[in-house]
Symmetry: D2
Subunit: 498 residues, 4 copies
Amino acid sequence: MLTSPSELSDSFVSRDPDDDSLRLECGVFGIYGMEDASAVTALGLHALQHRGQEACGIASCDGRRFYTERSHGLVSDVFTDADLIKRLQGHASIGHTRYSTAGGSHLRNVQPMFADLDSGGIAIAHNGNLTNFMFLRTKLVAEGAIFQSTSDSEVILHLIARSRSIKIIDRFIDTLRDIEGGYALVAITRKGMIGARDPLGIRPLVIGKLGHAYVLASETCALDMIGAVFVRDVEHGEVVQIDEDGLKSFKPFERKAARPCLFEYVYFARPDSVVNGKSIYEVRKAMGRQLAIEHPADADIVVPVPDSGVPASLGFSEESGLPFELGIIRNHYVGRTFIQPTQNIRDLGVRKKHSPNRVVLEGKKVILIDDSIVRGTTSVKIVRMVRAAGAKEVHLRSASPPILWPDYYGIDMPDRAKLLAAQHSIEEMRQMLECDSLGFLSVDGLYKAMGHDGRNNDQPQYTDHYFTGDYPTRLTDKEIAAEAEASGQQLSLLANTH
Amino acid sequence: MLTSPSELSDSFVSRDPDDDSLRLECGVFGIYGMEDASAVTALGLHALQHRGQEACGIASCDGRRFYTERSHGLVSDVFTDADLIKRLQGHASIGHTRYSTAGGSHLRNVQPMFADLDSGGIAIAHNGNLTNFMFLRTKLVAEGAIFQSTSDSEVILHLIARSRSIKIIDRFIDTLRDIEGGYALVAITRKGMIGARDPLGIRPLVIGKLGHAYVLASETCALDMIGAVFVRDVEHGEVVQIDEDGLKSFKPFERKAARPCLFEYVYFARPDSVVNGKSIYEVRKAMGRQLAIEHPADADIVVPVPDSGVPASLGFSEESGLPFELGIIRNHYVGRTFIQPTQNIRDLGVRKKHSPNRVVLEGKKVILIDDSIVRGTTSVKIVRMVRAAGAKEVHLRSASPPILWPDYYGIDMPDRAKLLAAQHSIEEMRQMLECDSLGFLSVDGLYKAMGHDGRNNDQPQYTDHYFTGDYPTRLTDKEIAAEAEASGQQLSLLANTH
Amino acid sequence: MLTSPSELSDSFVSRDPDDDSLRLECGVFGIYGMEDASAVTALGLHALQHRGQEACGIASCDGRRFYTERSHGLVSDVFTDADLIKRLQGHASIGHTRYSTAGGSHLRNVQPMFADLDSGGIAIAHNGNLTNFMFLRTKLVAEGAIFQSTSDSEVILHLIARSRSIKIIDRFIDTLRDIEGGYALVAITRKGMIGARDPLGIRPLVIGKLGHAYVLASETCALDMIGAVFVRDVEHGEVVQIDEDGLKSFKPFERKAARPCLFEYVYFARPDSVVNGKSIYEVRKAMGRQLAIEHPADADIVVPVPDSGVPASLGFSEESGLPFELGIIRNHYVGRTFIQPTQNIRDLGVRKKHSPNRVVLEGKKVILIDDSIVRGTTSVKIVRMVRAAGAKEVHLRSASPPILWPDYYGIDMPDRAKLLAAQHSIEEMRQMLECDSLGFLSVDGLYKAMGHDGRNNDQPQYTDHYFTGDYPTRLTDKEIAAEAEASGQQLSLLANTH
Amino acid sequence: MLTSPSELSDSFVSRDPDDDSLRLECGVFGIYGMEDASAVTALGLHALQHRGQEACGIASCDGRRFYTERSHGLVSDVFTDADLIKRLQGHASIGHTRYSTAGGSHLRNVQPMFADLDSGGIAIAHNGNLTNFMFLRTKLVAEGAIFQSTSDSEVILHLIARSRSIKIIDRFIDTLRDIEGGYALVAITRKGMIGARDPLGIRPLVIGKLGHAYVLASETCALDMIGAVFVRDVEHGEVVQIDEDGLKSFKPFERKAARPCLFEYVYFARPDSVVNGKSIYEVRKAMGRQLAIEHPADADIVVPVPDSGVPASLGFSEESGLPFELGIIRNHYVGRTFIQPTQNIRDLGVRKKHSPNRVVLEGKKVILIDDSIVRGTTSVKIVRMVRAAGAKEVHLRSASPPILWPDYYGIDMPDRAKLLAAQHSIEEMRQMLECDSLGFLSVDGLYKAMGHDGRNNDQPQYTDHYFTGDYPTRLTDKEIAAEAEASGQQLSLLANTH
């Protein structure tokens, strides 16, 4: 039975209840073998800002000592202080951007995390989610481990610390054998840098070079930002060790076929990134073209929900021959929190994030394209806004299939009960979203846009459980919880013996 | 002879030397006759954030007392505090966003500005620039006026305070007779709200209604944000007084034809705004179409410099039949300041604001469209970036004519010596900007895109001195300075008699 | 009739309702003719911190430009930043410490204040209070002056700005002829420094030298802090002008006898200062000796209310032969604000500022000596605390006479209705303060402690209206208010003519 | 061999090099069984502020979850926010004040510290120092423990977490058997509060009651602050467990005689506290009387170095018959950091902390009394200041014996090489300190002032190694270091096997 992750309360920043976006847990970056490594890391993180906007951190090492700085806020707000960058000394550095974060001064969960091992210090940063986190944490606490956070990274650190292997790379690999889930890891020790990707390559990680220095990053756009050359993806299940002797590759796991996460293509990755060899921008345009084939409409214009709907809209426009128009303008200055208006003001129907471009929409039959529909709360607002601006018809299209199942590999997704498509038929959704027609890209259509003939159901090419329910790994924590429930036990804390 | 504006030194935040954008001095907003007026003002300012991102302020009045809050930062960062909004009590409120701002805690120049008159308090906010500011300030100081800032608004306040008229509206009009330049003003007193636009309507100001409340705003997008209905533009040279009896209009100036500023259409206003009856988005698309006619190119794709180049690119694509592609990705998380990289890092050629979308650009002949070219420092970087990403040819197009003359009506523009087009021929510029061809929209082409047959040189329809040298008003300060120089006097301070 | 000082609301930091201390409006410091003048000023202000703990400011001039920095907080918190001091350039500097201050970011009333005159800039700082402030401000506003604050200093600046004299010293003297009250002023211009003291010398100001540089300060302890030599007091009604030619003295007023404020001796000045030739420490000891003569008691020990009661207690102990004991310990870490306890906790009778020294007090007959008794709210708490700690008897003694009348010269004193001694007989007070006996030093006793035979009622040697009701100057604002009230007018604002 | 405590660098706030004071590591406070426990803890900590001024923290528990807040700054600055106190929910709370602290945002070492055990959470705060800290930490790290700080408290937490006992009190006692040194500990669990004092009672801890609630505190002055009743001292080697069933006492160690630290009496404890049954104020007066007997001088006045020298001066004055005078005034507003003056200003001989009271000192033969002399750097400045103020002779007296040996039980003391008395004879010191005569209280004199006939050298009544070299416990870390040095090993880190 699992204990609660921690009795220490943090005041979490509550998410805006109107916020209907999906969120990734984090981007990671690392560089080894370059002066001012931390400044380069800050720039790399800046390019990965879309993977987490609420906190960030950098750790560095000069071969002798480690330096670390973690804070709430955007990279460009936190790491603007020249002194701060100067304090983060050394030729090796890793960094992390994170979306969810504790309130006030609680920085316990912000990465990178550091530990003194008997063989020397190690700092680690992590993108993804372990599906046996609670199981491992409960076991470690029972053995006397003290946790300072409720983050996966700390479980990984404890496993490394407790490994009986001598070499740090062996300790690292021992640890990877214990954890399950989707992850991309970067770590630095006094001697070098380590990177690792989960056995199925669910979360992305690429290798680049900047002069003689090696770079690891969640996406290629971080390489472009700093002028680094793309070398290759870290392979699924691969561990790379980088030190003054160069890069060594380890493949400690039994080989399986890769299954990268489709949502990186649908939503998360930046359009200018190339993930597992595919251009995000081109793939998204192909989704739009496929969508135009599957769900055409008799309409005047194609309008994207900016910015994520733009490439698919260009593809839809291309395929359908209907003009692409900026019928919705995105406000670039949306603060993360904003005044809590009185009811009086809430009734005004304020549009902080999107504004209608009236002149474009008035009297038109509009095809409205979004990357995905999660709870539908944003979609219905946008449909209403477009209609209020004078659109004659609104045909809503989702460039991804219906989202039916939650994620456990690092995407912050609502419960199944709140996933619109999991609860309603297409026609019900059409009515709820107040649109004239509604169409989702099919699963096979999505695979086609990815360059395949369709989904290989025997051996699916991608992680796609949110659309199909086919989870690619064990879900140990979920299984234990289900068992406990079945056997009538409460998921309560162990009885205390005070 | 003019004295220096102030001997009190502020530490100004120095502008990023790489920053090549034009900047407007400010957006204004006002509302009268509604509960929570300040909260509505915060939302309205939020929609005007693009007109000034470095400081903002709100003043309110409950009919008895005034409340004011001014700060550096974005509206959504400053006015998030529910308590703060609660402190700004009353049914009348004005607000201001501002781009340039003093460093540290120096908030002296941030608006709205307040004064106690013998007839009661007044708060004022202002977008634009007075061309006889120095002349008036020098005169007022000689009469014993004490200035706390170096802003135009304070000159206006002093003139109001010294007017011998009894009614506040008459004091206001007396003041407008003394000032010259381009301006849009909003003010609140204990009894009502006042709005005014300069005799030529250089700077924009619109009237809206939200229920029974009247709204004044720089652009219609602020009305859309709060769900207010657009009523009409404030006319050039019109003063409107709004109080519990409704709106009264005053036209104290001799009637001339309006000459609104073209740069609002070219660059400043938001694409979803309608300025003086014209949709910014449609006008910009028309500029792109006209540009395609005037400067076609044998190319594969049309790529905008995002975001301001997007509508013109859509127009160019439409006219030319060449596909529109997102060949450059804009980073939405650019902080206003960022780490000062070491030379080492500067050499990396870091791209903080724009990233190339390699897959799109590789091997292509690219038409690159920007809204305007000022100093050319950004343009050359973007051309190089596009070429480095593999473009075979780069054909640069400016959706506005060459900028040849500085502005004195509220646009922050470099000296003539730094305006690229003022110093170089088209071919010289082409070489400097490292592009394969270079084309600017013609002045007549711009007037065509605005819906005219061309520029009426006898009575030009717009303020367009930056392209033509034809300044629409007197430039008193400049004339005095020129005279002083001519007569061998230095522009020094008056001799002190201590 | 007087208008309200300003319609602009500030959120004032409300004073702790339990706070029963008197407060001075400010200390001033200036230095001319020394490098790093601002750093010296910071040190000087630090020594004057007891004269105002809530805000402070420094202005400096390098002969060409002025620099200023003002903030809430202690000098040692605000002026710790080396960069800040470096920004305050120049060889001339003035500074100010202030007790009362607006909340939040409202720094409008914090000094020094600066104005650009047509003859050049001037910065001014001021300790004291004008008794015709409202009269002058109303008049100036009617003439079109714009005020940014509600402080006396700004009235003085406006009068200087409007003077028709040519030389700055003449403008300064013109201004002094218009104002009435108690004040010590320091100012800097581009050419030099000016100091002035009111015609009766109510507020103190001394001249010192540090090498070749001249220093002005509220108290000699500021000279000691920086190692400056005491030269002499600025005389009552004297204006001193200091520039590169040295010090010039002006005496623009008709000569009257000086009447310095007695409360400087009783409470405000630091014990190590020498004010108008008298050591504060020695005078206070003499008050204690005189008190022992006037109000002896059959007791075991003499216990001061620390720290201000210590010298008088030493004097009382000396005269009475009773041992001096630290029966009350002062907590040195009292924050200016502290948690608002729940009623639950308020009932605990928390002692944040003073703690009883039980071992000393237990079973003893205690003579408890405080410098003065204002509202009595603190006194009764201390008496109770001493008794609760086991004292058998508590004999309370005030080292100054009963306070009967409010002050209008810069001391923050409650209304007459809240002055304990103004409302109650000695016996009533004794009962209210729950002490076994109560004694106040007599007015003549206080004059004796000051070294006189007693008060010269024909021509009193000191300002002592709080004890005697004998105000030394006109109280114009009060007179106008009284007249208005008498004639049935309300003290309302002038009717607005909108 | 010991590893370095951590490879993670913190930027420590460097101590002012002129700062010559001794510093205690911390004060602790706890309360169980009362609503608003955290607010009471804040008040208790406020009374213990003299035991640590640079950081503070509070943890609380509502029986189910824990809440914690830690920050740099004074208690009255940190815990002023009503919301903050409200967040620290529950009926049980502990708090900590701390002197030494990491720079910037590094709060890793600030207490209380929290851990999730398998049996539930625990928070702990600690005053003192473990003499086998490095030994234990090295061992724990080798076993895979991860440390987040370099504080003793975390070692204690890890030992508790790893104990194989079932009950938390047994785990606690297991841990106490492993640690050595001087300590006072308070802890809370979901069920209750625990307190413990080291086997010799080196560090103090008292028990109080506030209604039905139990209180633990470093000193009785914290009980007085909140109106709690003193019950008794926690005995040396005693562990108390407080829960809803009341207080249980455990004495897990072999009984030895207590040896409380003498420096609590000489310097650290507040004068109104009673430590181990003795009034600090009375003991210090007795030290002064004894000092007058041992080292009389032909002088005019007795002057304390304020504030710590005051009680001894009163005793000296009493015994000698010489008058007590406040010849030195302490500045109450010394900020923790202050501007770094230029050399120019440093040469002024600025006196930020103490000022001479010239009138008192001039022409006098002065006996100057300080509580102790550590490095002598402050003493010589004060002697010079007194002489510069006109004193004819200066006879310096230390109310404690010469400090010859460093401390390892929680007092921040310089190395032996910097302890003035460890390096020089009395006459050498007299010359260095520039005084006319110099006298230290004898060790036996100090024991006499404590109420004994003298030191019992067979079984000393107190911890007094700083005067005698007689350390009361093993010094394991020191022994291992010495051994390592002896055997030629470096105190380096273990070789890494990467």
